[in-house]
Subunit: 332 residues, 2 copies
């Protein structure tokens, strides 16, 4: 067989292959090769040793977060492109580093799947992970492969943050509450995709740069990323004994959002309060801290002020998503 | 209701409960409470924030490893006690830190399960994890909960190692190959449990102290933990272009091992070469390094010398376990 025909023959074979045709170690090699091709080399010692080794920098603490994506809970093979599933998984995990003000240093990927999973689905997931990995300079440093009845990805992201500067979930009485970007867009995209029977394709943008900028501002008292929905994550930020009265009209939303919601028969205010997966940063600022306009310039992204932390428990409002909860509705 | 009766009422209710009766956030609270009760407080900021924060020590690099346990692949609810599943999962993950010479600093636990999982199974897993967590001073610092069709645990362990001292998978020509403890015991226990229809109960002992001691010995060239089986892990340690002739008679085995194997109709030599899950440390030593006896004293555990690294590819021998491989046999 001539040299130039081999790749296409191999590509054809790969399209028809399933995981069991390769086996664990060839799959690990495949991941390592793809990572090298994508130009995301692990910092010290990565894929293929007992564990990954990451050089720590002086004066830096480590931040670690774990996030899982399960077939038919967080994504559906029937509608979602594997590459989108991979991109979304890493982007969402990195959002937790953004919310701590950390810089990504690496991630591990634990992958479980039936051995009948088509190789192109595996390759798509991997390509999506490596795309975000490269974009955010967060190399794949290790992981685990195992067979299972359903597909799942567990990503553990590691980051570094200057000592004592990590953004925690915290807010004091009287603090101003602000948010980056706009909310509700992700929930609307999901609703629209469902109504049109099309795949959901809204890959989150982890606010890593904004998070690091917030960590450098002394007046920033605490931060969380909006993954469960504004009302729910606000409660996580300020704690059970405080609340922050929210005027839905002040919550920033994408252009044309309200009209698009109404066309789908959805309440736009409810969606910005309770729709999750926007991955914007919600943060608490000391009363005398910078204005929203000054913060927008400093963070390089729009910032809106939502209200102030008040005494007393919260009033009833939209609630976020909780796993295992009896009323958990949409595909998450 | 009087004070002393409440716990028993609650305990009775918990025994009959399943995950969906609690929901995600109460389960997270349950984990945090159990961790506090077990006396394993996270080092800086753990469960309940966006990410865990771990203080890094001067002159120390970070080691990270991810390990997964899936229902009906690595354990069976029908036969295995939840506490044993939890203990085994963390002990096996920590073995990867041992093989790098690292000291544990913390772990994250991603848990996926059907919402019909009985709460006592969850509590048992948690108790097993926290037992090993406490034993090895490795606090639970974060994780993720999600529903899924089958149960799985993904543990990511983090450790610290003095800069430049991490033990890698490496061996040079002429290096002596040694191993801690004995091999085959885990495979024999599995075989015995299967033949008697009893639950498998052989919780690995991660060789953390021995690993750290090896990392301090300059003559130690490389190290791996024996999880896939001696022959397979030896190949991982020395690479594809070298081999190490093994005399099965020199491989250390538990007392009474050969007779017990024969009673079950098993070949003891095959079992010590290919049986996995022993989690002993297999390491390469420069020719003029200390004797096995001197190492035994230094490591506080028996050490046996198996052979020397020779040129050329390996000869056929027992093979280890690989996920997704067509011939993957036992429950792993």
């Amino acid at each position: 067989m001539s040299g130039h025909r081999r790749p296409s023959g191999r590509a054809r074979r790969d399209r028809a292959a399933v995981l069991r045709d390769l086996g664990e170690f060839p799959l690990i090699d495949r991941i390592a090769r793809a990572a090298r091709r994508a130009g995301v080399a692990p910092p010290a010692l990565g894929i293929g040793d007992d564990a990954a080794l990451l050089a720590s920098r002086p004066g830096e603490d480590w931040v670690v977060s774990t996030d899982a994506r399960v077939e038919d809970v967080h994504f559906r093979w029937r509608t979602d492109a594997p590459r989108t599933v991979g991109r979304t998984a890493l982007a969402a995990a990195l959002s937790d580093l953004a919310a701590m003000g950390a810089r990504p240093r690496g991630f591990t990927w634990a992958f479980a799947a039936p051995d009948s999973l088509p190789l192109p689905a595996f390759d798509g997931l991997l390509a999506g992970l490596l795309f975000e990995s490269r974009r955010h300079a967060c190399p794949l440093v290790g992981g685990n492969l195992t067979r299972a009845r359903e597909t799942s990805l567990v990503l553990t992201v590691l980051g570094g943050v200057p000592r004592g500067r990590a953004l925690r979930r915290r807010a004091l009485l009287g603090d101003r509450i602000l948010v980056t970007g706009s909310l509700g867009g992700s929930a609307l995209a999901r609703a629209r995709a469902e109504s049109e029977g099309k795949p959901v394709r809204c890959i989150p943008e982890p606010r890593l740069r904004a998070g690091r900028a917030l960590a450098r501002i002394a007046a920033v008292r605490g931060c969380i990323d909006v993954s469960d929905g504004l009302a729910a994550d606000l409660a996580h930020l300020i704690g059970p004994d405080r609340h922050c009265p929210l005027d839905p009209a002040r919550v920033p939303r994408p252009r044309g959002f309200d009209a698009a919601c109404r066309r789908l028969g959805l309440d736009p205010d409810a969606l910005v309060l309770s729709g999750g997966d926007d991955y914007e940063l919600l943060f608490a600022l000391a009363p005398r801290g910078p204005s929203a306009a000054a913060l927008s310039r400093r963070l390089g992204t729009p910032v809106s002020e939502l209200g102030r932390v008040a005494e007393g428990p919260p009033t009833a409002a939209g609630t976020g998503f909780a796993h295992f909860a009896p009323a958990s509705g949409t595909c998450r």
